[in-house]
């Protein structure tokens, strides 16, 4: 392939923001000491950590002492779920969550259930939107310790009704945890949550940094062995250079977020329309309107998802998939399953600040031929 590769998987990891690179390199020189020690290098590291926390908190509109850095978005989600449940174990042992949470949340829920707790999964509709009435009913039931709702689906981009879900939780006196990994740095985060998590490599920060925010007054108890760092919320020393880069790039991404959303949303509209029109037997999934500005997902009938990803890679397109055929577990994506939409031949395209109109046009120009070739190879033309 002579054309340069086109990276369209920002929802997994956005290419590093230039600000992240600068901050990371500077902090490697300046921020390698342990911020907890009592000498000059440690004080410098402490200043960097405090400044990073202040900056990230200011960007999210929360207090600095409410925000902790974690080793990943996954670790933050585990802490949010298990810590939120532990803090309210006297009230009950039930976790209410949507059927389309990230696997990090579902795996923490499994751990909770294995330990004797219970979990209630609330369905979504065909577009991937939470059934609000069922959610409100579930959180009103006795013994609910915590509710969890993903801010927007990481697989299909449908934005979830966080504000009304938070109102239902508040009425029931149940804290709401929002996994905002696909929102933070891209779109405003709705109010009303008690615990929030995010992941730096989704907004152009380095991999391996997550955010855990626990609002004042929330009963949250660390599920980990005792450790004093990060207000007792994250055991172990943080990767300070990466944290500094994460905070700096978050501020930069948030400053550009509205403009980027306005630029990317029409490109996603274009992909949604052209894929539906130009690829036969395709189902474009997720809410066409209430959705993330940078993500679109579709499924191609009769096409093996893994074969499609490989073919796209050979043509220079990096995309991902929630399809069963690409995961080791051989389960269909629990998100697509919950929506009741086609799970094979699934492609998720997610755009970022370096994505150009030309990139999208090239993808749209080549996709129909790539799908047609795979169908011809499999002998499924005209079915």
């Amino acid at each position: 392939m002579s054309a340069s590769p086109v990276y369209l998987d920002a929802a997994t990891a956005a290419p590093p923001h230039p600000v992240a690179r600068q901050a990371l390199l500077a902090a490697l020189d300046d921020g390698w000491a342990d911020p907890a020690r009592l000498y000059g290098q440690a004080r410098r590291a402490r200043q960097l950590l405090d400044a990073a926390r202040e900056a990230a908190a200011a960007t999210l509109g929360v207090r600095a002492d409410e925000l902790s850095f974690t080793p990943s978005g996954t670790a933050a989600a585990h802490s949010a779920v298990l810590g939120g449940l532990a803090g309210r174990r006297r009230v009950g042992a039930t976790l209410v969550h949507s059927a389309i949470e990230h696997s990090a949340v579902l795996h923490a829920a499994q751990r909770h259930v294995a330990g004797g707790g219970s979990a209630v999964s609330v369905p979504v509709d065909r577009l991937g939107r939470l059934d609000l009435d069922a959610f409100a009913d579930a959180v009103r039931a006795p013994g609910v310790a915590l509710a969890a709702l993903i801010g927007a689906s990481h697989e299909v981009g449908t934005v979830q009704p966080v504000a009304p879900a938070a109102a239902a939780c508040a009425a029931a006196g149940v804290p709401l945890y929002v996994d905002a990994a696909q929102l933070v740095g891209r779109v405003p985060v709705p109010a009303g949550w008690s615990v929030l998590t995010a992941s730096a490599h989704k907004w152009g920060g380095p991999p391996g940094v997550g955010l855990l925010v626990v609002r004042k007054g929330t009963r949250w108890e660390s599920p980990w062995p005792a450790d004093e760092r990060e207000s007792g919320r994250t055991p172990g020393v943080v990767n300070l250079p990466a944290v500094v880069a994460a905070a700096a790039s978050l501020r930069a991404a948030a400053a550009d977020a509205a403009a980027e959303a306005a630029r990317l949303a029409p490109l996603v509209d274009r992909i949604r329309a052209r894929v539906a029109a130009e690829v036969p037997d395709v189902e474009v999934v997720g809410d066409p309107v209430d959705r993330l500005p940078h993500m679109v997902t579709f499924s191609c009938l009769y096409v093996d998802g893994e074969a499609l990803l490989h073919a796209l890679d050979r043509h220079g397109f990096a995309v991902s998939s929630g399809s069963s055929c690409t995961s080791s577990t051989l389960r269909p994506s629990h998100v697509l399953e919950a929506m009741g939409v086609l799970s094979h031949g699934n492609v998720r395209v997610s755009l970022h600040r370096e994505t150009t109109v030309a990139d999208v046009e090239r993808f749209l120009a080549e996709l129909p031929g790539i799908v047609a070739a795979l169908r011809a190879e499999a002998g499924v033309v005209g079915l």
């Binding site: 009769y302 093996d304 051989l330 086609l342 799970s343 079915l383």
Partner: protein, 81 residues
């Protein structure tokens, strides 16, 4: 998961056990149009994705998804048109 009592018996069973998605859907798409309108075809498929993809195919193709059965697992589809 069984359908209502008295539901039409399948005229044919397609055994797609051991086949990975999307093969069971492809076999269904090949065979169903060869059956008379109103006939029910049962697809046996143990890839869990079939539980999602066979009903989704019916919806996309305007065919009728009748029922899922635990044994097999099996999926009954009626040719609607």
């Amino acid at each position: 998961m069984s359908g209502p009592v008295g539901e039409a018996a399948p005229v044919e069973v397609l055994d797609c056990r051991g086949q990975r998605c999307p093969l069971p859907v492809i076999k269904l798409a090949r065979r169903l149009p060869e059956l008379p309108v109103g006939a029910v075809l049962r697809v046996l498929a143990d890839d869990p994705a079939a539980a999602v993809d066979i009903p989704a195919w019916c919806r996309m193709r305007g065919q009728e998804f009748v029922a899922a059965h635990d044994e097999g697992p099996g999926y009954d589809v009626r040719r609607a048109g």
